[in-house]
Symmetry: C2
Subunit: 185 residues, 2 copies
């Protein structure tokens, strides 16, 4: 797997990576336990503060770790990590440590206790901003409190899940900037 | 623009088209007014019933049409419709009729009053299932009550917004089905 050089990234611009709808890896930790899960059901909810909604099924082991610690990291894997992404989605914690099983590096975050996945293109440290939608909709509203993003390439090649074991791999980027009114960018 | 032959599609499988995170066009109608807006902030929330969360800014003209009618259609445009997609996102209703301006055909839906956009690859007729998250999070929880999907191709070429006028165009599809446990498909 690649290793990226990352730097602090403006949180108000993380839509660049999340709005296209990639599969992400959610890392979490609580009282000595840690876990990783794959997640495809997420959306931007606000630029500033940078808020992201994530649907987490209550049968996932990560559900309790995240709800209790009120923190997580949203990690953005690239297509070269496909085997780890698929493997994590098909492995049930807490039986195995997924960092060890999938040869991923747990790096310390700066604002949360949950670890970053070093091999991922980007890491978004999150705090739970609203727990009120969890019971009814399984929806965790997170605020991104710190964003680490690879300095290159500008746009990562990401995986987007379609169900039935099929992923769409992100394609080229096309700018229509000149056709936009500035207020709508 | 292409015209697709469509058929009724199982609602429990619409994740195939929405989970990868494409830009969609939301059509709405209320008391003789109709409108179209572009939308990138959406997510699956449930398979059965098929529920989708959509963030709609209260400054959009569509906000009122959808909140009052409690209905909309989520239409999935393909990359050949890029000029219409960008144009709609940069045109403010109610000054213009976006169907006329962008040469789109309003076709009757079967279960809602909002029109389908005939040129789109898929049309998901929606009823508002939960209005309780609108005020706090701008989040409309819709239930898809009818899905019309093109019979071909199996996977459409869609547009995924990154901000700053840049779109990612969906790439190839890759199956990892044999690496999945059946329960996780």
């Amino acid at each position: 797997m690649k290793r990226y050089t990352k730097k602090n990234f403006p949180r108000a611009k993380i839509r660049r990576f999340l709005e296209p709808g990639p599969i992400v890896l959610i890392s979490s930790a609580h009282r000595g336990e840690r876990n990783i899960m794959t997640l495809g059901w997420h959306m931007m909810l606000s630029f500033e503060p940078a808020r992201v909604g994530c649907f987490i099924w209550d049968q996932n082991h990560s559900f309790d770790l995240i709800r209790r610690s009120r923190q997580c990291v949203i990690n953005l894997p690239t297509y070269d990590m496909a085997d780890a992404v698929v493997g994590i989605g098909n492995t049930h914690g807490p039986e195995v440590d997924k960092f060890e099983r999938f040869k991923l590096t747990a790096a310390p975050a700066s604002k949360v206790e949950a670890p970053l996945i070093a091999e991922c293109y980007a890491n978004f440290e999150c705090e739970l901003a609203d727990a009120g939608l969890i019971r009814k909709h399984g929806l965790f509203v997170f605020e991104v409190v710190k964003a680490h993003v690879a300095t290159s390439p500008k746009y990562p090649t990401t995986m987007h899940y379609r169900g039935d074991g099929v992923f769409m791999v992100s394609g080229r980027s096309v700018s229509f900037r000149r056709k936009f009114k500035r207020v709508n960018l």
